[in-house]
Symmetry: C2
Subunit: 393 residues, 2 copies
């Protein structure tokens, strides 16, 4: 059963191994200092960025891709010919694809407090970064950051490249929040906005669901109130972080996917479960193994900061959803996943209806499939035509 | 906002304060020894039970109510005139109600390994109980138990009362599993079976979801591999157990309920969240406070055993769902909740369709409402007519 699930997920991650992918590289952007939306200071800020396609002479063909919670700016392409895992939206970004790199300059930026702080392909600044003032990691002294901060850093990267206005902004999940935030905060620079499996604001349900991911980290004694950094990286809150990733993995999927694995209770599993309450089920072993592999490059405090940025999100950082949406002049495209359990379709429907009532040029489409929230990433090819049509108009 | 949620939940728990409720009491059932389905031994077994209505002369009017995960045999009535919280299905159990105590003798039994091990109104045997052989609590040496064991103990209680056959068995959630198990294990004794917000077998998704509730307990250093019992009840894994209850509370509800609480991000909450990642959101404070109150009478190891019993459930303890359902001769009624995120309606639909294909006299109804899984408990009044009709036939 484990093998079968692995193969399924491999298939999901690598839809077309035979295809020739774009070769891409990570670039670094630096700022001496940055003031956050809430007035915090970050010195020697660094984030990574990638781009696909060519910027045209009048710099009018830039499409910004904003990434999801556990993602980074690797939206498309591969890092080398041997790299078997292309960027997460490779199915729609490339020559002749829905976001056509023959026409568009596509760019993406690693978020602040990126989850994958120790991933060789991610450049980020967050609690695991060295505070130049102390020579030690920030830990919980790092300021709380918001979607607006992610957006503002992206805007600085664009400015350096001479891009004053986007052709479009698009992103899945947390990336959708940034896309909506762009359209509300800088309406003159965003004529087109694509929100995939997204939300225009964290409601009570979502704030609590996101918070669940922080509980195992804070319960892990190794977390030590966020003060665990050492050069040897020993005694990190890995158990808590692994549980957090396992929670995320399940809620981002859907029963149909888990339940492809066959019999309800195979005889050998029954015997194992019967002999001790501490023996794990096959599906839990699989979840934990997969989560364990993923957390290797991740930082526990960064997860807490990402959750907080999501909990604090409300379009435009205004006091109500309507005030935030009212500022949007972009035409908008919302794409939901019918089986989404993490940001259920009601989130995007609410924003879509409000915008419609505000006379925005808006449309909504639904991806069907068994992968739940992940349909917005692994199933994005199903949205190709909607995205392609939306960008041509 | 907190007050408003509390009031909502009180309303949910106490649908009709003005009503005169039946006065009920908890009885104790004891067995010198019991052999579990998997061959484990439990000595000096004790469980509580309650009954409503009168057993008729030929003992043919007994309806057994099987309780949910965090419930007990207090299905209806109150313990005193001052008791403001009637049993969980009081809306349908009582004189003239859907399960009419003027006609039926209604009985319910506290489960083994009941979650509320320290509740004055619950009598149970589990890891927190004293093992007569050692004079110390069983802890993890307590044998793994199953739905079949819950059923077998209930059957022993019925035998003592001279009841050889039921008029019907009915239960919500984990109670539904026991009801289905009754109908499959002892078909000659079960002519009618009512499954509410239930399942006929734990699939991979459900096994993993249930397992999530055990993670914070096992991560809590105070759990100490299940060995934490002491007379002063100090240093119990309360933090882990509270997190587990908070996880259960959220997944048993639905966004519509959480999101009745007003603004997405009130100004004062925004300021609180902005100042530190360790400051909690209002909804999380509410969840944790409510969970904290509920865990006072609960035992962490008991939760692990309950999860395991649910993970091991497959109708009839057979090797496939069809084999288990094939044994059922009872006519059957399935009731789902349209917003259920814990045991989504597909569970009951699967059992219903399989039984239909097996020519069982079966029907399926859906409760609509914003309470998610909890609609099967707090919203059960909506199912009154279906249940009443089903029992009259």
């Amino acid at each position: 059963m484990l093998m079968r699930l692995f193969i399924l997920l491999l298939f999901v991650a690598v839809p077309a191994l035979a295809e020739e992918h774009m070769l891409v590289k990570k670039n670094e952007f630096r700022m001496d200092s940055y003031t956050t939306f809430f007035g915090g200071q970050i010195k020697d800020l660094r984030v990574g960025w990638e781009s696909y396609g060519k910027l045209n002479d009048d710099r009018s063909n830039a499409i910004l891709i904003t990434h999801y919670f556990s993602g980074n700016s690797h939206a498309a392409g591969v890092y080398s010919k041997d790299d078997e895992e292309p960027g997460y939206w490779d199915a729609i970004i490339g020559p002749g694809k829905a976001i056509d790199t023959n026409k568009f300059f596509v760019i993406s930026v690693d978020s602040l407090v990126n989850l994958s702080a120790y991933d060789e392909h991610v450049i980020t600044t967050g609690p695991a970064s060295i505070n130049p003032d102390t020579g030690k990691p920030y830990g919980l002294s790092f300021p709380v950051v918001t979607m607006r901060d992610f957006v503002n850093i992206q805007r600085e990267v664009l400015r350096v490249l001479g891009i004053k206005s986007l052709y479009a902004v698009a992103g899945p999940s947390m990336g959708s929040m940034q896309a909506i935030e762009w359209a509300s905060a800088y309406p003159d620079e965003v004529p087109r906005m694509i929100s995939v499996i997204g939300s225009a604001g964290a409601d009570a349900w979502t704030k609590a669901l996101l918070d669940q991911w922080t509980w195992p980290i804070k319960l892990d004694p190794a977390w030590n109130n966020g003060d665990y950094y050492n050069d040897e990286k020993t005694n990190y809150p890995t158990t808590g972080l692994t549980q957090a990733l396992a929670l995320i993995t399940q809620v981002a999927l859907y029963p149909d996917f888990f339940n492809q694995t066959g019999d309800l209770l195979p005889k050998d599993e029954k015997a194992t479960l019967a002999s001790s309450v501490t023996n794990d089920t096959e599906i839990v072993k699989w979840l934990m193994q997969r989560a364990g592999e993923r957390v290797e490059g991740m930082d526990a405090n960064h997860l807490l900061y990402l959750v907080r940025a999501n909990q604090l999100f409300l379009t435009g950082m205004e006091d109500s959803l309507t005030e935030g949406l009212k500022r949007i002049t972009a035409k908008t495209l919302f794409i939901t996943a019918s089986t989404d359990l993490l940001l259920m379709p009601y989130h995007a429907e609410l924003a879509y209806k409000e915008l419609k009532a505000l006379n925005n040029d808006t449309q909504l489409h639904v991806i069907e499939g068994p992968l739940g929230h992940l349909e917005g990433v692994a199933g994005i090819a199903k949205a190709s035509q909607w995205i392609s049509d939306f960008l041509q108009e």
